[in-house]
């Protein structure tokens, strides 16, 4: 009971701190959302933005667009390393567990095989390696994407719903050093943005 309430208190304090931080960050910022009708336009726009040296911006699409990473100048995903780490944990963990349980803590002879024999461990070592890698992959992905994040400025736009259907968006954060509401809007308009809106992000 006690430890439960303790953890509760702890979380509430943590959440408070987190809130303040967020509040500070999103204080009076804006988000420019430009809508495009097809992949080629948004790809082109992305090229332009990159050349214009924007940093805090992103592209939204219902499916991954071929060549977009290059267009945005994104580097390769670092996910692989996380997975490797988890995989090794699973592998060693499985071996250590089985060797300790069967060979050290309570050794016994079954079927004339010596305790702690290696061959029968192979399947479980393999399975646990896979299991841990799988968790590593998903958790790693979520972490790199800062997910889950249920509340995000872009959701304030009604039109943004198209982003999961058949529309394409470019979003620019006002905290980007190159950001200028007017110029950025012009830039995107000149690149076949079919619709542009400015989202006020306030707490």
């Amino acid at each position: 009971m006690t430890s439960q309430s303790a953890s509760a208190r702890m979380t509430s304090r943590a959440s408070a701190r987190a809130l303040n931080r967020r509040a500070a960050r999103v204080e009076k910022t804006q988000l420019l959302l430009a809508e495009f009708e097809n992949t080629s336009d948004v790809l082109h726009a992305a090229e332009v933005m990159r050349r214009a040296g924007y940093q805090k911006w992103d592209v939204h699409s219902p499916f991954p667009i071929h060549g977009m990473d290059a267009a945005m100048g994104l580097k390769d995903s670092r996910l692989g390393w996380t997975v490797l780490l988890f995989a090794l944990t699973g592998l060693t963990g499985a071996f250590v567990m089985m060797y300790w349980m069967g060979g050290v803590d309570y050794p016994f002879v079954a079927g004339g095989k010596p305790p702690g024999a290696l061959p029968p461990m192979a399947p479980i070592i393999f399975e646990l390696t896979i299991l841990f890698s799988a968790f590593g992959t998903v958790l790693g992905m979520l972490h790199l994407n800062r997910m889950p994040r249920h509340n995000h400025p872009v959701f304030s736009s009604e039109r943004f719903k198209g982003a999961s259907d058949h529309r394409f968006f470019v979003s620019v954060d006002s905290r980007d050093k190159n950001f200028d509401a007017g110029r950025t809007r012009a830039l995107l308009e000149s690149n076949h943005a079919s619709f542009i809106e400015l989202i006020e992000v306030t707490s």
């Binding site: 002879v109 079954a110 004339g112 010596p114 024999a117």
Partner: protein
């Protein structure tokens, strides 16, 4: 019927030593739960501990168990006053340490909840006092007519005390008559010896001295009296220790398979009715070959029998018998008519085997049972000459010859009282039913076949308040206040004194007994001496060397052979013609489990597979394949057998090796009043059995009723499929190639994936099973069941293949269907060193102990059954249901509490959903190990004896330490006949088999 209210509240004071007190420290179930922590468990101490009792330690007492003119000495294990296990008494001549299946199972009868708790008058609950009163009234009335209308129908007795009391009864009521009847008796034997030797005598055989044995329809190894003793000496005569050793040869001529036939080197399936003809023909041949049979020989030569015999079975056998000379012997079954016994007697006399092999002992019970005796009673009743009839034991209504109509007759008697353990068919027809005590509940004395007298002492006060036959006789003899204990003592005194060459007189009240010795000198024998002998007798179970009617060891000299009488008798016997399709023969066979039906309510015996057919919970009409095809029937067809106006219906079972034209009808089944377990199991064949055909009958017609019947067998397939399972060789082959049993298999090339476990140190338990000794008698199966709390599952579950016996006996047929050979192989867990079962258990419930036991921990088992699949011997059993309230106990509302009292407290009672198997009786290993630790000594070879080994009458099973080179088991396991079944799988079985050796007669080929 099975509620515990029946249990007596407290034991009688004088037997409190073994009294049935609330067993100490036995947890009284869980009496509700106290708090959330754990259930409270009560401990109930004794008021004061009975002398000798050490709670937690078993005690053993010697007693004796009467059995068809023989008596088997027992040592009974008792836990806090509960007899739990029966073993043989090594000091007793009819046991020599072993007992058979039926005796093993008899402990269960003791706890049968359906034994009647009180006397019944006309079916209503009554009391012993009421009966005593009514009986006294009767007796005083009979005092006037000297008992002219008083009759007693008893079973043949072995008890000197009972005899003494019968005599006293005779003196009290001179005009009264005592009739005896038993469905299976020795009448033919005694008639035969009377014919041949002029006295009713019982032959005693020393098979260990015999070289050539010809059994004429005698199942001396299983169903004949003295079977255990015979088993023992037979196995000695067959023992093969080295290629040099010789062994006896056994010829068996019998209508249907018997355990003895199973052990034969040559077996001739012959209708029972043809055996006399065969005996005569053989005698004639022997005479022709120069055996001095005199008149008998001539008579034998002249008798004409229709239908010939295979020449080799006459000539070769005769030659062999002559070659054997003094060590050749003919043994005749009780079923065969007197003349055959007489012939055998004459032949044995001529061969000279009387003395070395055969000796005779006087029949103990002069009024030895005969159907005729019962017939005379029936006619007396019919004539209204009987007013009072006491039936002491027996069950004539069920098992009397059908032509006597006993049931109808009983109603004509004013007062009938039946002393019996259960309200059986006979009790139902009597005015009084009197509950009879179990052998383990009563004082008594029993005489073994060879005359040795053993004391029967109770291990427990009568659970259901019964009285023994002895007590009834006491009251009939006017000694109704005497305690059975004193009566037995009184009887025993004489032989005990005889031992010291004295004859008693006086009662010893003054601390001395006046005696006269052989020379007539008067001496005074101190009671102290008697007390000492008596105590010794109680401890040993036998009255030292005391015998009642000692055997005639040299009959040749002592008893003149009445050859002319035999010849005359032979001349006028007409010999049965071979049976035909229309006129079949039926042979009534003593059942290896039910005997004459008295064990019908015993679940162990019901579930025990028949040694030959492997049928459980049923009997069957056994027919040969040829006869079956002639009659157009197959296994499972219900047939109607008619003889004159009598008929029975029975399900047929086609069994190769049965004599053509004969239907084997096992007795003792189809009871209607045996109890919930025994009722309507199998088929009652007594309705076909009449006074003129007690053994077998011809002229029987068989018709199909069209019904089908399902048998529950523990073995579905009879063939070895050409696999090297039971390995055997003839004595000759063995001498050529002593190691014949080992297979030529390529040496196992195992990759060194792991280093083998080192079993070279400490005790390494192992077992050998000598297939040459094993006869398949199945005593071990029941012993295992009793020792290890193995549940019964019932017919339906056995049929599904869910039988639970840890030890089973596989039986295979070899050779062509006309003359098949049967091979048996006891099979239990062989404790593989590299056990496939252990590898696959996911929860570590199976491990291998440092002493080589393949261990299973029931309470860790989760029941994946993977181990059972992976066991190549299929010896692992699974508790598919809760066998204590499902299966056979489903309708009886669970395993009766009284039966739970039999269970061995040192073995876990397994629960639903777990695997179980043979553990080499690990509880015995443990108790001995602990004992040695306590006493600070080492285990010696022979300290630990497994239940199966202990009871095996043939000494086929040997258990011990393989690392101890001196131990019997390691010698055998290194012997030349040894082989490991399926060891080619690389599993290193610890139990190994010793190959079978047959000793065929080359001339028979």
């Amino acid at each position: 019927m099975n509620d515990s209210s029946k249990l007596p509240p407290n034991p009688l004071p004088e037997v409190s030593r073994r009294g049935f007190l609330g067993s100490l420290t036995a947890s009284l179930a869980l009496l509700g739960t106290e708090g959330c922590r754990r259930a409270t468990e009560k401990v109930v101490p004794y008021q004061s501990v009975p002398e000798q009792v050490i709670p937690g330690q078993a005690m053993h007492f010697a007693t004796v168990y009467a059995r068809r003119g023989d008596a088997v000495g027992l040592v009974v294990e008792s836990h806090e006053g509960r007899p739990t296990k029966i073993e043989g008494n090594p000091l007793h001549p009819s046991s020599l340490g072993a007992v058979d299946a039926i005796t093993q199972a008899s402990v269960l009868d003791l706890y049968d909840p359906e034994r009647t708790p009180s006397p019944l008058r006309a079916g209503a609950k009554s009391t012993w006092d009421a009966f005593a009163a009514e009986l006294d009234a009767r007796l005083s009335k009979h005092a006037t007519d000297l008992g002219a209308t008083l009759r007693v129908l008893a079973t043949p007795t072995n008890s000197p005390t009972v005899q003494r009391l019968r005599a006293a009864f005779g003196r009290r009521f001179p005009a009264a008559r005592v009739h005896t009847y038993a469905p299976v008796d020795a009448a033919n034997v005694h008639a035969g010896s009377t014919l041949a030797l002029g006295r009713a005598m019982q032959p005693l055989l020393a098979f260990d001295q015999a070289k050539v044995i010809l059994s004429l329809d005698s199942d001396f190894l299983q169903t004949e009296p003295g079977n255990v003793r015979a088993h023992r000496s037979f196995s000695v005569g067959r023992a093969v220790t080295s290629p040099q050793s010789s062994m006896s040869r056994l010829y068996v001529v019998e209508p249907g398979w018997s355990t003895t036939g199973l052990a034969a080197d040559h077996r001739l399936p012959l209708p029972a009715g043809r055996v006399p003809a065969y005996a005569a023909a053989l005698a004639a041949e022997l005479a022709r070959l120069g055996l001095p049979l005199g008149a008998v020989g001539d008579a034998a030569a002249t008798v004409k029998a229709t239908g010939a015999f295979e020449p080799r079975w006459i000539q070769a056998v005769a030659k062999d018998l002559l070659r054997g000379g003094k060590s050749s012997v003919l043994v005749v079954g009780t079923r065969q008519p007197a003349i055959v016994h007489a012939l055998a007697c004459a032949v044995n006399r001529a061969l000279g085997s009387e003395g070395p092999v055969v000796s005779y002992v006087d029949a103990f019970d002069p009024s030895e049972a005969k159907a005729a005796d019962l017939a005379s009673l029936v006619s007396a009743i019919g004539a209204g000459k009987v007013e009072t009839l006491l039936l002491l034991g027996g069950n004539p209504v069920y098992d009397a010859p059908a032509d006597l109509h006993v049931q109808e007759t009983l109603s004509k008697v004013q007062l009938t009282a039946h002393l019996a353990g259960f309200v059986d068919e006979t009790s139902a027809g009597c005015v009084w039913h009197l509950p009879m005590t179990h052998e383990l509940e009563a004082w008594g004395d029993q005489r073994a076949l060879d005359g040795t007298v053993a004391l029967q002492q109770p291990l427990i006060a009568p659970l259901f308040g019964g009285k023994s036959e002895l007590e009834i006789w006491a009251s009939l003899a006017g000694e109704k206040d005497a305690r059975p204990y004193d009566l037995v003592r009184a009887t025993s005194r004489a032989p005990l004194l005889l031992e010291s060459g004295l004859t008693s007189s006086g009662d010893g009240k003054d601390g001395k007994i006046d005696c006269t010795d052989a020379l007539g000198v008067h001496v005074q024998y101190p009671v102290l001496g008697f007390e000492h002998d008596w105590k010794k007798a109680l401890r040993d179970g036998v009255l030292a060397a005391a015998k009642v009617g000692a055997p005639v060891l040299d009959p040749g000299a002592a008893l003149a052979l009445r050859a002319p009488d035999i010849a005359a008798e032979l001349a006028k016997t007409e010999l049965a013609a071979p049976p035909t399709r229309e006129r079949l023969e039926v042979a009534f066979t003593v059942d290896a489990k039910m005997l004459d039906g008295r064990h019908a309510n015993n679940t162990w015996l019901q579930e025990l597979a028949d040694p030959i057919t492997k049928i459980t919970w049923d009997n069957a009409g056994l027919v040969s394949p040829k006869t079956a095809s002639e009659l157009g029937i197959e296994t499972g067809d219900v047939i109607k057998l008619s003889r004159g106006d009598r008929s029975v219906t029975i399900a047929a079972y086609v069994l190769p090796g049965t004599a053509d034209g004969t239907v084997i009808l096992p007795l003792g089944w189809g009871r209607t009043q045996a109890g919930r377990i025994g009722n309507r199991r199998g088929f009652d064949v007594f309705p076909l059995r009449t006074t003129d055909a007690m053994g077998f009958a011809g002229g029987v017609s068989a018709t199909r009723t069209g019904e089908r019947y399902e048998f529950a067998r523990t073995q579905q397939s009879d063939s070895m499929e050409g696999r090297p399972l039971v390995r055997e060789a003839t004595l000759e082959e063995y001498r050529q190639k002593p190691h014949f049993a080992e297979l030529e298999v390529a040496p196992r090339r195992s990759l060194p994936l792991w280093t083998d476990v080192d079993y070279s140190k400490g005790h390494q338990w192992g077992m050998t099973i000598d297939l040459n000794a094993c006869t398949g008698c199945s005593a071990c199966v029941v012993a295992c069941q009793a020792e290890n709390n193995i549940p019964v599952v019932g017919k339906e579950e056995v049929a599904k293949g869910r039988d639970m016996q840890w030890l089973r006996i596989d039986r295979y047929f070899e050779g062509e269907a006309e003359e098949p050979r049967a091979l048996v192989q006891p099979m239990a867990c062989v404790q593989c060193e590299e056990a496939p079962c252990e590898n696959v258990c996911p929860v570590a419930a199976l491990e291998h102990s440092a002493e080589g036991l393949s261990e299973i921990t029931y309470n860790r088992c989760i029941g994946t059954r993977y181990c059972a699949n992976n066991c190549p011997y299929k010896v692992r059993r699974f508790n598919f249901l809760n066998w204590h309230n499902d299966g056979v106990w489903n309708e009886t509302g669970g395993l009766p509490e009284t039966l739970q009292m039999q269970q061995n407290p040192n073995v876990t009672v397994r629960f639903r959903g777990v695997i179980e198997k043979c553990s080499y009786c690990v509880q015995r290993i443990q108790s001995h190990r602990l004992a040695t630790k306590r006493e600070g000594r080492d285990l010696r070879d022979g300290d630990i004896v497994t239940a199966c080994q202990q009871t095996c009458p043939a000494d086929a099973i040997v258990f011990g330490d393989l690392n101890d080179l001196g131990s019997q088991v390691s010698k055998l396991a290194m012997g030349d006949r040894r082989y490991g079944l399926l060891q080619e799988l690389g599993i290193k079985p610890r139990t190994t088999f010793l190959a079978k050796i047959q000793n065929p007669n080359p001339e028979m080929a």
